[in-house]
Point group: C2
Chain length 860, copies 2
């Protein structure tokens, strides 16, 4: 029973008008740049190399000749060759080389071929040297549109004519790395522009030619420039630049002395970016480099050896191509086979998953194979999801669950973390923790104490997840309480199993502290705690109904449980002028503070006194936001008053920051928002940046001291084998530093004195609009969280509701991956996600909310 | 109260005699090859390069000149240069180049220098070409001892004379990669031999010269051959070959076109082996490669640029060295500073750890800083531990806790896993699991069902650790039981919180199923469950005292709880002729089987019937070995009879294979040893190879079906954010395959029909000897486990005992890292650990047991 001072008015119309005005200003953003649709209807490979001049273009040419210039087939074959970045142009042009060579080979072999060659864009100096018929210089881009196109035809009567399309996307004159050429000549085309351009050419290139759909009739190759980690035009390494596409690759290795090492290192750089390498090709230099390479690869990746390449510049290489024919045929077959296997794999994954997985929190009967999401990879904020709609493709979806509340890295941090994970595993594997010290654990512990534990914590207890961190916290708190209150001191001697006192927690209704039984006992009865789920659950707590705050109709409101209703409260006590006001310390002097405080005091006094068997031994709260309970924002004033009262009674205070910690709510620890500190706090999820499980329970020196003594039996006898595992601690240390460094996390501001905050990520105007939407009953935005509750009743409300499904389905089509908490839905981003990306998701959400509302109205 | 048919005889003397005989045969093995002692009393760096011919030797030379040929100091400085592997010899000799150049530079700069040059070993062809005065050919090694030594002195009056020692350890004639040269010319020196040789030269090199101890007076450089991943003489990549030493490195990168990529890739290969790179050096080719390199490195590693190197072969480079003087000085200072920082860091780690850590299962008062182990890294089975005993050094310790029961990889698998961890993090970061599928999770689940779950399991539920896997298993079992027995069907509708029935487990005393409260409730009262530790523990089970088996005096014995004592048992029923006999299915027909069976049946009947409030809803056992309870081996016949009886009563059976799974006991799942299957089984620890937390609860289709229905509330509402995380599943999939593949795990045998087993890892004769030792009350060996209980009574026995401390202290000095379970100690290895390594540890243990016994006798 909540008191609500809201006046729900249907201003749907007015509001829709405002939205239209709002959206009119955003024509460009409506199709966000980040969403890629990557066709998979034909095999596509990236040609990488461990260095320049090892023969990438020869391999591309050989592949295209093997694909196109083979015994005639009934289908029209088409080969698309893309050279996204060409330097040294026009003297060097790999797309021209391939075009010319293939024409010559078709003549030589008397096989038909239609081939075309285009150069699309170049720097001004390159255009001036090249001098095509006419070109236009786009000053904004610093690039010239060359519009250069040439074509050749070799026709053979009675044969179907295969087609070659050879294209250079961007060219510069200097025979330099693209980043230097672009710096010198202009045309520093952006990373996402290059990727989008490649994506567009892939989508259009094979269709335009009119090739009928048929997997093995098309083949695409994207040839990189230089080595795998050579910089692109902005300086981004090419292996990072092309990462959102994540096509499988062919690595052109090095057959010379030293080439084993160079090839292996290049291979490892690709693996460290999450690429698959399907084949390695090297030139024969008589050193049988393939043997150690195969041994290193444990025969999992084939290594093909090309005959020595004639060094004489006058050699037209046609004979060499003839000689290499078998090698290229093998390569082609390997690539076709790997492609088919990949597609087959994709197509079977959903079914196979449905056969063997037992997903958590999932009613399998409600998950048909078609609704299973097949995730090929993730890059920063986006999943790459495999889909079939007429054709196979991979599309990006913004991970609005922020991978179930853990995910933090942008693409740059992800790459760094990947390297660090490799390093930590190689350096430490796993080493047991008790009585030992190793760098990552120590660094992580010190960063925690200097960050989220600053000013109060002095010890770090590591475990594996939020649940275990909470169980440890409860053990700590109860010991401290028992020790402070002289309860059962004899137990400290004989460790008797008799229980004369039942220790309970003070906790809030709607809280959720984890899934293991001990953590569960600290939450109020809920859908999760029935006999059906938890036969052992009894609910060992005093559970209070908390006052909550939320935005509705553009205003922040307070919702008070009945117990707080009082004549001393005026209507203006029930709203806030801004979200900031909610957190003001000055509210401590308000009437409400008095009400909260005396309520807390009264509750505690009911449960205290030595005569009572049940005693409150700990306060446990999720500061500010109750996550799993439905993204409710608890009035921080209430929580602060509870903490104060507990402290007065020497009841240890536990903050469950598993969800709220590490910038989830815009500050490093949500305790900062409450303006008070705990005795014990639990962290997990985002602590490692969100890529690997690790949890920590922080405690004060006084809590720690209640476990020291002469006997091992007085120590905290709880621990998991992977306590403080090296990879987890490495990831945590890296992420903690990264998130709060303004040079790596552009969202960090420290406006108000020295307190660090994330800037506001959710467009204020849009948020207000949505909070006024008739389908929305409340909105909460804070830090990386944007949550809203859909107006619903009956079975449409609550955790088991599937009310939001159709809305979320539409959003998935827009590239937003959400998962509901019943009729509560949310967008979650990482601490480094740009406000622009957030804004795009909110706009999509808003648009689909309209449709959802209309559907529901029609349905009624 | 146990019945024991043992006849303890003091045959100490006889037994010692046998040991002596035994040890006489092992003079070589007594100092195991694998134990390295790596001096840290002077800065030592490995010089790596991204390819051949980039100037490693110039950098070594420049460094030595900066170190030795600088303004005179009062101390005698000494620089040790080691070229472990030289090919193209004698025309190429990097140690000679450095020796000659430095002599010339000292003359040119008029600075004193004593320099020496040695070539120690070479192939026969190299020796024949080189023709030193006399050399001897060691046919066994295939190497010549050259004994070549030359010396030069440039003395300047009144100055202290610094000293250069320049050495080549192994030389081949061919200008090829060492693996090809060794293949062609012989002298394929083993990896550990090379490493040991380097270690020896480092230990002796600086001492022999009589340099007084003083960190900055000595400097060592180890120059590799070719690129970072160029093969050594056996084909092992050099970055893998030198990994046990893990000295920090200088990377000589590539300043040419394409060099950014090559340098970054080489850097990443080093990181992927757990190396630290302290500085990168490149030659200036006018391409400012240092800019993108610094940007990639985020300025964390300095990049130094050398002036262009004259290409004219007649140039003696002396001017170039003068020109480069400042760069080499900077490099030297960077390396000295990094060295001091490293040592300082090591020296402070134990204290810092003691200040901030809260170790699990550890009474901090009993851990003074001096007893904290500072672990620099691990490589395969060994920790590398930092120690100070007069001097600073790093020493290897065999991780006999197998990192607290998780560790599996040998050095080769560790490297592969590290690469896979980088790949998984880069490809997936973390992606949420429910309703999704991604490759590693699917592969892992299918491998589990096809391996440890084969023949019974059809679903995989992922979580984070053994504890959570057990809690999930209990929820599964209770639901299945309730559903099968028609208990509270109305709860399936309204999910009422009323509890009219209390479900309990049937479990064994001495079992341990994890640290969270739910898992704890399934164990009998113990040191871990008192009010002090677990205020909420009540012990929700019927706990039976199990019969156990163990070896004593070389024989396997059965120890029966009193309840089984019976006149039908003969003395021969209480011993086994071999360990294999214990596991024979034919025992099902024995008297004992009948006793066990009727006992189980009687216990169950006491707790069943619809009238009873307490009902047994699950059987939970650790198959065969109870780990944390003290490494007790339970009679498998007893467990099998329990399983049979429970099955008869439709009580779901849970196998807790968290400790026993994945070859810990010599078979992939310990269920194989029991000869029966469960309904639910839990796995964790070794599942990922032991490097990252991940757990799985496997279940039958019937168990799964009891959770399907129309409502989400009927689903299993338990889950952790990192469920089925990509890195964990990747590691698990890799390790599962690796461990059972006879080509990667040489311990795999499949002698008996198709059943795969690990070969016996613990020397049978030694084990028998130890089981007869007067200080040893019992021994259990099975698979990777060798456990023994020290004869102890009073406070010396039990979990809190510190009785074993002095024994373990001695063993640490021998390079064996153990941690006791009270008076039970154990050696644990990985599934791939060679029997020879195991044997070495047992010998060490045996020797120290003798000493320990003598100490204790003296103490009495």
């Amino acid at each position: 029973m909540l008191l609500s001072l809201l006046h729900r008015r249907s201003h749907h119309h007015l509001h829709r008008l405002r939205l239209l005005l709002l959206l009119r200003h955003l024509p460009q953003q409506s199709k966000p740049l980040s969403t890629l649709t990557i066709p998979l209807s034909h095999p596509t490979y990236i040609i990488w190399s461990s260095n320049t001049s090892l023969g990438k273009t020869l391999v591309s040419t050989g592949l295209s000749s093997s694909f196109l210039l083979s015994p005639p087939s009934s289908n029209t074959k088409k080969f698309l060759y893309l050279k996204p970045l060409q330097t040294g142009f026009p003297s060097d042009s790999d797309s021209r080389f391939l075009f010319q060579k293939l024409s010559s080979l078709s003549l030589r072999r008397n096989l038909p071929l239609v081939s075309s060659h285009s150069i699309l864009l170049s720097s001004l100096p390159a255009a001036n040297s090249f001098k095509p018929n006419n070109f236009s210089f786009n000053e904004l881009q610093g690039l010239c549109e060359l519009g250069f196109y040439e074509e050749r035809k070799v026709l053979v009567e009675g044969s179907v004519t295969p087609e070659l399309v050879s294209e250079t996307l961007y060219a510069w004159e200097g025979a330099l790395s693209p980043h230097l050429a672009a710096e010198k000549e202009g045309g520093a085309v952006g990373d996402s522009e290059v990727v989008k351009h490649v994506e567009r050419r892939l989508r259009e290139g094979l269709l335009e030619g009119g090739v009928e759909r048929g997997r093995l009739d098309g083949f695409c190759v994207i040839e990189t420039a230089g080595g795998v980690a050579s910089p692109g035009p902005t300086g981004t390494l090419q292996c990072d630049l092309y990462r959102p596409l994540r096509f499988p690759g062919v690595l052109v290795g090095d057959g010379r002395l030293g080439g084993i090492s160079a090839t292996i290192s290049a291979y490892e750089s690709l693996k460290l970016r999450g690429y698959d390498v399907v084949a390695i090709v090297i030139e024969d230099h008589g050193l049988v480099n393939e043997i150690p390479l195969m041994s290193y690869l444990r025969n999992r990746v084939p290594v093909l050896v090309l005959p020595p390449i004639p060094q004489d510049p006058s050699n037209n290489l046609l004979e060499w191509f003839d000689e290499s024919h078998n090698v290229f045929n093998s390569l082609k077959n390997i690539l076709l086979e790997a492609y088919l296997e990949r597609i087959l794999g994709f197509n079977e994954m959903a079914r196979r998953a449905g056969d063997v997985f037992w997903w958590p929190f999932t009613q399998h009967k409600l998950v048909p194979p078609c609704s299973v999401t097949v995730i090929d990879s993730r890059c920063g904020e986006n999943f790459s999801v495999y889909k079939v709609q007429n054709k196979e493709f991979i599309t990006q979806q913004f991970d609005a669950c922020a991978s179930w509340w853990t995910q933090g890295p942008d693409a740059a941090l992800q790459t760094e973390l990947a390297r660090d994970m490799g390093y930590a595993a190689a350096r430490f594997g796993h080493v047991m923790f008790p009585e030992n010290v190793y760098e990552p654990a120590l660094e992580c512990a010190e960063l925690l104490l200097d960050g989220v534990g600053k000013g109060w914590a002095s010890r770090v207890y590591f475990s594996d997840n939020g649940s275990t961190a909470i169980e440890i916290a409860l053990k700590m708190a109860f010991r401290k309480f028992s020790s402070d209150h002289g309860i059962l001191p004899e137990l400290f001697e004989n460790n008797s199993a008799e229980r004369c006192i039942e220790l309970m927690v003070l906790a809030l209704k709607g809280s959720y502290h984890g899934d293991t039984l001990g953590a569960m006992e600290a939450q109020a009865p809920s859908s999760y705690t029935g006999f059906l789920q938890q036969p052992w659950y009894t609910g060992k707590g005093l559970f209070l109904d908390p006052p909550t705050v939320f935005m509705h109709n553009g205003k922040w409101n307070l919702s008070l449980p009945e117990v707080f209703h009082s004549e001393t409260l005026r209507p203006e006590d029930m709203t806030f002028r801004s979200r900031d006001e909610i957190f003001l310390k000055s509210r401590d002097k308000s009437n409400l503070a008095g009400l909260y405080s005396s309520f807390a005091s009264q509750q505690l006094s009911q449960c205290s006194g030595l005569s009572s068997i049940k005693q409150i031994g700990a306060l446990i709260i999720e500061p500010v936001i109750q996550g799993a309970g439905g993204m409710h924002m608890v009035d921080p004033l209430f929580q602060r008053m509870l903490v104060n009262e507990c402290r007065r009674c020497r009841i240890p205070v536990i903050f469950d920051e598993v969800f709220t910690g590490f910038w989830r709510l815009g500050v490093e620890a949500a305790a900062e928002l409450l303006g008070c500190v705990p005795d014990i706090a639990c962290f997990a999820k985002l602590m490692t940046g969100g890529i690997i499980p690790l949890a920590a329970t922080l405690a004060t020196a006084a809590v720690f001291d209640s476990f020291t003594g002469d006997s091992k039996l007085k120590a905290l006898l709880h621990g998991h084998s992977y306590s403080a595992h090296a990879m987890g601690c490495t990831a945590a240390a890296k992420s903690i530093i990264w998130f709060k460094d303004p040079t790596t996390n552009l969202n960090i501001t420290s406006e108000k004195s020295q307190k660090m905050l994330l800037r506001e990520l959710w467009d204020a105007e849009l948020v207000q609009q949505i909070s006024s939407h008739p389908s929305v009953s409340r909105v909460v935005t804070l830090g990386t969280l944007f949550a809203l509750e859909l107006q619903a009743d009956g079975s449409n409300a609550g955790y088991a509701s599937v009310y939001a499904s159709s809305l979320l389905q539409m959003l998935r089509e827009d590239g937003v991956y959400m998962r509901p908490l019943g009729n509560v839905i949310y967008l979650m981003c990482g601490p480094c996600t740009s406000p622009e990306i957030c804004r795009q998701q909110v706009i999509k959400l808003y648009r689909r909310l309209e449709e959802f509302t209309n559907q529901n109205q029609l349905g009624k």
